[in-house]
């Protein structure tokens, strides 16, 4: 096995296919089989040779596999894994039937097993270790998991990379992609502080010329920042063609619930497609807080009649809200730390603290 020529190898592959000897064929494409150590098979461009002897799609698969062996021999593990996964994906695409989600799941399974091989490589030294392939593979897997909506599968990958000592030494491109997906996942789990951290990193370290990527990161970074009380400027929105957020931003900072509802329904399709509609709805609580702060500033007293809040909500055309709901909304804001004070049911008043009754949004988690 270790000394055969390229022609002999290809002949063996051809025979295996012809005789439907699946397992032997699998061995010839596997990395655990001794043939990978054969320097005669480690070719940078084996496509022509493969095309001569094999039929599609096998010619592509085998060519990818051989390029992989070449890459490995040159210690370029990232390239290597790219090709080996290509081999796996080719086989899956052949099947053709079933939903696209099904094939993506199967592709993910294959990639996951590659990832496990990388993660468990304890024998090689740090320069040759397969661990360098971990982040690249995670990023591919994240893409699939987000597409098939199985985000919980991201957790073991994140854990593995976090506990690895190489996590800061991967290439900037890989790190940006990684932080982008981890940030999105944190957003989904409502961990907004970490989400802001990850997405900000991705945005700042993303190459200035990749406008499209920066825009994509911004789509997720903006809602998170808004939830933490930081509104984007018009210039930023205009620069990245994200004017859909303009009205949302304005309404939140003004405490204008009416405008917020309008803005959300106007660009509903865009927000739903990006998967941020639900997060933007969370801005409603911030908007209530801003509206009620205005009421406080207008009345200039620390004992605010509940009726005043009811009036402010009716001005926002929220007609089916009654005094009970007002109390509930206020109680929730107090519980979340957005208002410091208490409600007195007997006096039908909200009594706020004399010091900093509406703490800044960034200080409230």
């Amino acid at each position: 096995m270790a000394h055969i020529t390229i022609n002999q190898y290809l002949q063996q592959v051809y025979d295996a296919i012809d005789n439907h000897d699946g397992s032997f064929c699998a061995e010839l494409l596997s990395f655990k089989h001794p043939h990978v150590a054969n320097p005669r098979l480690q070719l940078a461009s084996p496509e022509e040779k493969c095309q001569q002897l094999l039929e599609p799609p096998y010619d592509e698969m085998v060519a990818a596999h051989l390029r992989c062996t070449y890459a490995v021999s040159n210690h370029d593990f990232v390239e290597a894994y790219k090709f080996q996964t290509l081999v796996a994906e080719q086989q899956l695409q052949k099947k053709g039937k079933g939903q696209p989600g099904e094939m993506l799941e199967k592709a993910a399974e294959q990639l996951m097993s590659c990832f496990r091989v990388c993660a468990s490589d304890n024998r090689a030294g740090i320069e040759d270790s397969k661990k360098w392939g971990m982040m690249f593979l995670s990023n591919q897997l994240f893409k699939i998991y987000f597409k098939i909506n199985k985000l919980h599968l991201c957790k073991p990958l994140i854990r593995a990379i976090d506990s690895s000592n190489l996590k800061n030494d991967y290439s900037p491109a890989q790190k940006v992609t990684y932080k982008y997906y981890v940030g999105r996942k944190a957003m989904f789990d409502s961990d907004f502080k970490p989400a802001e951290e990850f997405l900000s990193y991705a945005f700042h370290h993303c190459h200035g010329s990749s406008q499209k990527n920066k825009r994509m990161i911004l789509i997720y970074l903006l809602p998170v920042k808004m939830l933490l009380g930081h509104m984007p400027t018009h210039q930023l929105l205009r620069k990245y063609d994200l004017m859909q957020f303009a009205d949302v931003t304005k309404s939140v900072s003004e405490g204008n619930l009416l405008l917020l509802n309008e803005a959300l329904s106007k660009h509903e399709t865009f927000f739903i497609r990006c998967g941020i509609f639900l997060i933007l709805e969370k801005l409603k609580i911030i908007t209530y807080r801003n509206l009620f702060k205005k009421v406080y500033l207008l009345l200039r007293t620390h004992q605010l009649p509940l009726d005043a809040f009811l009036v402010s909500l009716k001005m926002m055309q929220l007609d089916d809200v009654d005094i009970d709901e007002v109390q509930c909304i206020l109680a929730n804001l107090i519980y979340m730390g957005h208002i410091k004070g208490y409600i007195s049911h007997q006096h039908q008043k909200l009594v706020v603290s004399k010091q900093n009754p509406f703490p800044p949004l960034s200080s409230v988690s």
Partner: protein, 405 residues
Amino acid sequence: MCQFMTYKVKEQAIKKNSLSQRRDAPAGGEWRQRKEERWRGQGKAQAREVEEDESCEQHGKEAVPRGTCQTMCPARELQDREVQNRLHRFEMLAGTERVRRPRGDPLRAVKEYTRPAAGKDSTNPTDLRPPAVLLKTVCYLIDDIAASPHLHPWTEVYSFVFDRLRGVKQDMIIQRVSGLNCMAILERTVRFLIYASYRLCGEPLWLYDPRINDTHLQESLSWLLDCYATETGPHPNQEEFQALGLLYNLGSARATQHIMELSGRLRTSPAITLALSINRAFLERNPVRMLRLARRLNFIQGCALHRHLVTCRRDLLLIYSHGYCSRNCRFPLDRLAQLLSLDTSLAAQLCQAYGVDVNQGNQLVFSKAAFTEPGKGKLHCKMYHNIVAEKQRELSVGNIIHGCV
């Protein structure tokens, strides 16, 4: 063509098996290991592909098994279970229940669920019921068993129907049933499981396990929603079930996102709009609004929502404990009872369970320090079911599950 396909499928199956088991295997002994695997037969996950293979080889052109059994229970199984004394008492011939070996009633026996196992042939056509027979079976299970006023206790009725519905689902999977019959069966299954989740709430674990009910409910619901998405319409009940799905999975980001991705026409339908508003109120932590909106739900929707009412009421007591926390706080119990949709004595009991103090004059003293989660088993959801119970009124169980209200 078929032969080649068979080999491809087997090859995939073997590759998958060997890939997943090969992780730490030494380089040497794989060849032998894989050969052994091939002989030992594939694992459970491959069972379906194996069945496809077998039927492919046995029936030549026929790739998917087609059942021919016209009775609710295949004759062979009825005979076997009779001989082995494994008939359920609902399946016995009247008058023979107490003899040593009761006789089975072919008009009442229903094929039971059995686990797929390697080497077991579950594709024999005489053992499989075609879709029309499956639907008739489901209707029998609902009308004559679940809705029957004579069969007690209902926990036993539930177990029987649950198991036999699982058998129906299995036949559907093996035969790759789709279309109107499939959806009609799944719709009834989902309604039954939702109703059961409400009716059997609070029963001891060995008689009813809410988690097992939930697993099957989610599976059936998922399959049903898939059918709506992939099969050409019209689907007259889709609005109902999309709404039920959201109500049952209230607060779930996945369920909400799914609803948001439906067509505009569906999303603006009354049932889904109401479900979305309730979902929104729940996510915003506005229990007053949520309970107010919940009053507009019908009975089956109430059943779907009911397990979230506990969280909703708890949320109310929690935020009020913070919002009204002051030394002179006095909140009237009556008012709270109204907000919680409970009568005064039940409201008082609930408050006590959460550590909220009720004083002499039926006034509540909210305090964030006093609020505590009730100990395990201390809170009986069933006691507070009235908001759903009062919706049932004159509805019969049969009508609820068939959906003709």
